[in-house]
Every structure is written in C-alpha cells, then in structure tokens.
Amino acid sequence: MKLGQDGDYVAAAREGMGNPCLQGSLRSLQARYGKGALDVWKTLPDPNLRSRVKARRMQTLAHLDRVLELLSQGVEARGGQVFFADNAEAANGYILDLARKRGVKRVVKGKSMLSAEIGVDAVLEAEGIEVVETDLGEFIVQIAGSSASHIIAPCIHMDRRQIGRLFADKLGIPYSEDPPTLTQAARKALREKLLTADMGLTGCNIACAETGQISLVSNEGNIRMASTMPKLHVALMGMERVAATLEDQRELLQLLTQGAALQKLSTYVSFVGGPRRKGDPDGPEEFHLVIVDNGRSRILADPEFREVLACIRCGACLNICPVYGRIGGHAYHSPYSGPIGAVVTPLLHGINRHADLCKGETLCGACRDVCPVENDLPRMLVALRCKLAYGDPGWGVRPHNRLEALGFKIWGRIVGHSRLYAAMLTIARALQRPFVGRNGMIGPLPGLKNGWTAGRDLQPMAEQSFRERWRARQNNNPATADNSRETRHGR
C-alpha cells in the first residue's frame, strides 16, 4: 500500500476491523496507554502545565520565522548546515544531491513520519541506494512491504507468528515466534547496517532554537546509532517542530514521553546540532538539518487550523480514539493516522481527497481530553466538514456531497417552519407504518436509510409527538392553558 495515494477509507477500515491480531493489540494498547495518559494529566503536580505549554507553543508559532532563523544560525555556528525545503521535491532533491556527491550507498533511518510524508525512501532507492529502517517496528513493516499502522508502534497489526515467518524468510534465521529471539535477530542484522552505513537519516522530535540543536527520542538506541556512526547525518524536521527555549523543550519532552508511552523519559534523548569536533572518533563529519514546509505554512496562515501545528506527535490521541481503535492506522492512508492524522492529512494533502478522514469520526472528544497540548481536534474536524459542505476557494475545496447538501437545505426549511415540521412528522408517521415490525421497531430497510438499518433496528415515530401530547394535556386542563406559548413570529 503506497502512502499518500487515494485509498478507500471504508474498505481499509473493514479490513482493519477484520484483523483479529490488530483488534487484540489495539484493545490492549488503548486499555493501558490511552487511559493511562489521562491519569497522568490528572495527577500532574502543576494542573496548568498543559495549557501553559499550549500557550507557549502558540506564541512560538506566532514568531516562527524568527525562531527558525535563530535555530538555523545556532546550527550553523556549530558547523552544521541548514536547508529550507519548500516542499517534498525540494527536500528529496537536496538529500539525493548530497547522497550523490558523497557517494552514499547505504542509508540507515531513524523513525521519521516526515520521511514517509515526502517519500524520500523511494527517491533514494531509485538511485540504487539501499535504505534500511532501523526502528524494529519500521524495519518489520519495511521488509514485509507494508506500512506503519501506529505512530509509536508501527507493526501493531502483525502478530509474532507473522513476524517469525517474515524473519525466517527475509533474514534466513530458523523460524521462531519468541519476541526476544526475534528482537535479537533484528539487533544483529541491523547492527551491521548501522555500523557500515554512509548516511543516517532521522527525523527531529523537538528542535531548540535557543541552543541551536535538535533533540531525538528513542527507546531502542537506533536513532543514536544512526546519528553517531555514519559520516553523514541528515535530520528532517517539519518546520513547526521547534521549541523557542531549552526550558520549552524540556516541558514538551516530558509531555511527549508521557503521552506516547507513559514514560518519565524515553531510554534515550540525544541533543545534536552540528558535526563532530575535529579528532572525535565518532559523530558525523557533516550534519544537515532539512527544514520542511510542504503545506505547513498554509496551515499556519489559517487561524482556524494553526493550533494543529502545536502537535508533538506523541500518539496519545491514537491510544484513546474509539474509531482508530477499531479500524487501525492503514485506513488513514497516511503516515499520520488516528485523530491527528484525520486533521493534518487533509490539510497537507487535500481536503476533498481525504474527505472520509474529515467525516469518519464521531466527534466524541476523547482526543481533545488526552492531548498533551490541548489541541481541539473535534473543532477542526467540524471546520473541515464545513469546507466540504460548501466548498472553500481558499483551500481549494469543492462541495463534497451535493445530495447531503440538498438534504440539509431541505432539513433547514423543515425545522424553520413548525407547521411544516409537524406536517412532515405526520407524513413520516403514515409512511412508516408498513415497516414497523411486531417488536415495535423498524427492521432492515433498503435504500438510503440502509446505513442504519443494515445493523440496527430503527425507533419508529411515536403515534403522538410530545407536542401533541402536551397540547392534549393543556386542553384537558384549561387552568394551565396559559402555559402554552406561541412564538413572537407565530411560526
């Protein structure tokens, strides 16, 4: 499944729901981590931490041009190089050019969703360069020819038997389904790659403008390896992933590791900003920071959506979303899945194209509750739906569903006129009679309403509406007739 291509949300969701391994994994994950994160926020020593941090994020975004300038000056002062990439093509072009110039044959990668977003792997591979994912989960999906289905746990949709068969096939080891044995096999196989690679390509969790460094978070140590052993280190950074000060970085870091996996800190957090000092036996000879826009400045420019750039990619929203928890990450057809993916993917890659992502949630609000930076994702989903309803020239959105728009126009007329409304109820009541079953419910119906009745019975209209019963009550009790009120407009 290629990333970024049109995909059928419903079909992929169905597949996810039919995958027992995925279902079991997501259930355990959500039971522990989603709720766990909520508990962490409830017991924070500073109950205002998240709103304070959110406010700082928004202030940083409000100064983003100067923040990025400060960051790049700091990196350059350390001997690093900074490239500002307008879009995926520019970023890929820079990296490919560098790889060519330095004769790169093998690239080891630390987990980077941005790298998946821009599609850099394919660009390098087309050049005959070997690209190796080193995060265990990413490595597994890479050699399986699949893609990540969760931000933090990429191969959650696969079970140990599948992975065992995969390793037996691709790594040539005897079949085992023991996770430590399989992990050990990957450790050995990837160590060789990490120690002989020409280039390490990582993302960037949180950059720090004040100190001119980026920070990288991992539990496995692969990111440290990929940014220490090869001669070249290229770090891809979404332009919004930068803290103004080291203190901001600290607070974001702690929210990130708690939100992601309930950890006080991940096993490793490394801070780098430039190449090795002369004479150092390790560390890259060149450090390149590629700062990527690729649609982010457009989001930044829209006050309705600007706050989505405060996201620190912790994955807590995935761990609590009931929809994601059933359909899994592949249904989103994007490196960004779950609630954050549902908002950011349409904004980056097309609102019409990803209309299902805008509409395919219940707006329950659990994601808003659990977000460490208090992002109001349901609000933004509704804003996206509004663009789909009427179109939006600014964002290049065409009205998405004419039938639904017509339906709501008619609905609007009906609810705007109480007599018409009452008449519609009467008509509906008459029309439904043949369909009401012996149990008093309406069973499976063909056609438009089939969405509901395919799996559920439908409550029929009551023989007398509340309004009618109220009127009857008033008529039977004239003393209370004054309690009945007409509107000023007599509608």
Binding site: S28, L29, Q59, T60, H63, L64, R66, V67, L68, L70, R78, V82, F84, D86, A90, T134, D135, L136, G137, A153, I156, R160, P179, L182, T183, Q184, L194, L195, A209, Q213, N219, E220, G221, N222, R224, M225, M229, M239, A244, T245, L246, R250, L253, K264, L265, T267, Y268, S270, F271, V272, G273, G279, D280, P281, D282, G283, D293, S297, L300, A301
Partner: protein
Amino acid sequence: MDDKRTAFLDRVRMAVQDSEETRIAWSELLAPCDDSARLNAFAQRGPDEQQILLQTLVEQASLLHLQTHLCPTLDQAAQCIAEITLTSATEFTAEPALILHDHPLLRALPLHAQAAINHTPRHWTGNRDPEVRNRTLAASIGVTVADWAIAESATIVQMTRPGQPRSTSLVPSIHIAVLLLSHLTANLAEAYALVRREQNCDSWTLISGPSKTADIEAVMVHGAHGPKAMHLVVVTEPVNDAHAGFAVAS
C-alpha cells in the same frame, strides 16, 4: 541558497502577520530561565536529602532494568567494574574487552589492582586517537562517567567532550556508567539548569537504562540497538576534586 531561505522565512512571516498585535514580544519569548532556585537546591543539598534521592534512583532504576551498584570508595568501584566484566557474557566479540572514557575519575580507579581482569584488554578513548573506533567495536563493555544523574527518572546525563565520545555508551553490548553521589540531581528541571550553566556543550544525551523495544506484540525486550545491559556504579563517598572532573558539584 540564501534566496531560498529568505523566501521560506518570508512566507512563514506572512502566515503569522495576523498575530503581530497580540503575540508576546520576542525578548519575552526568549527570556532566559531563572535557574537560581534549582541551582541552589542542588548546591545546598545535605547528606540526608542525598540519601533520599539515592533511594529514589535505585527504585526507579530497577523498573528500567538499570542495575545500580553502591560503592563507597573508588577501590570498591574498581572491584565492582571487575566483577561486572567477569560475569557478563560477550555478545558481538569473542572475548571481553573494555573501552573507557578518558576521564580523571576513571583514571583514578585502581583497575590495575583488579587481578581478575589483568588480561582483559582495555583502551582509553584518548582525544584524537585513531584506534578508538576499532577498539570500541571490539569492546564488550563501555565505561563512562555520568556528568549528572536524575533520581526521579533514573537517568544519566552524558556530555560529549574531547576524549569522551558518544559511542562508548552506545556501541558495546554493555554500558557501565560511574556516578559520584554528589552529582545526583532530583529531577529533569534541576539537571537542565546544570546543563544550561555548562553552556558550551556540543552534543549530549540523556540515558535511562538499557535499550529496549516492545514493538513485537507489546512484549518488552531489553537489548534493541543500544546496550543490552547497563550498570550504574555510584561512588557514595566524596572524592578528590581533581578526580571529579569537569563538572564539579558546587
């Protein structure tokens, strides 16, 4: 190149021009953090409080499979390192071998007095020594000095310096970090204050235990790409300032 940068940043500036009136001043955004309270807390910490922090460190460490060893003296620390060397299995190398940071504290350890590891090759990561990379790859155990540790999360702070490279705590199968008790901080905020005071640090890393992953069916496995096992040797009695090295506890 410069034009690209200018165009990029201009686009970003245009995107936020609506907030020009309402946002805080640039100087306020970048206002330095007042570390005085945290630095005082660290400097004035008495032995009783230090013991409490040590207890916390040990408890938190056990949750992360970080093995702690409390050694009152340098002698005992050296003994401890020898024991770890003898009892650890090799993984990527045929024989055990040590690679050690060229740090005054490690130099002060009487490792030569540990007869049991007399034949275990050891190499120091001297500055500009071209052998270091190969010796690191050939080592089964890397030994470093923690600049500071953080009790709350059982974390060590490891600064990269000439003669104290990154790979020592990363590439060998086992990592031993030596810590002076006086360098134990309470929490991340306190540690950051110390890092800020340090100023010119090139690269640095926070390390909280051995490497791990739970990517396969959420089963926790220790030993992903970094060290499979990590030991923290805490020297609990005060040592000579010269041995403490760059970061002096004051």
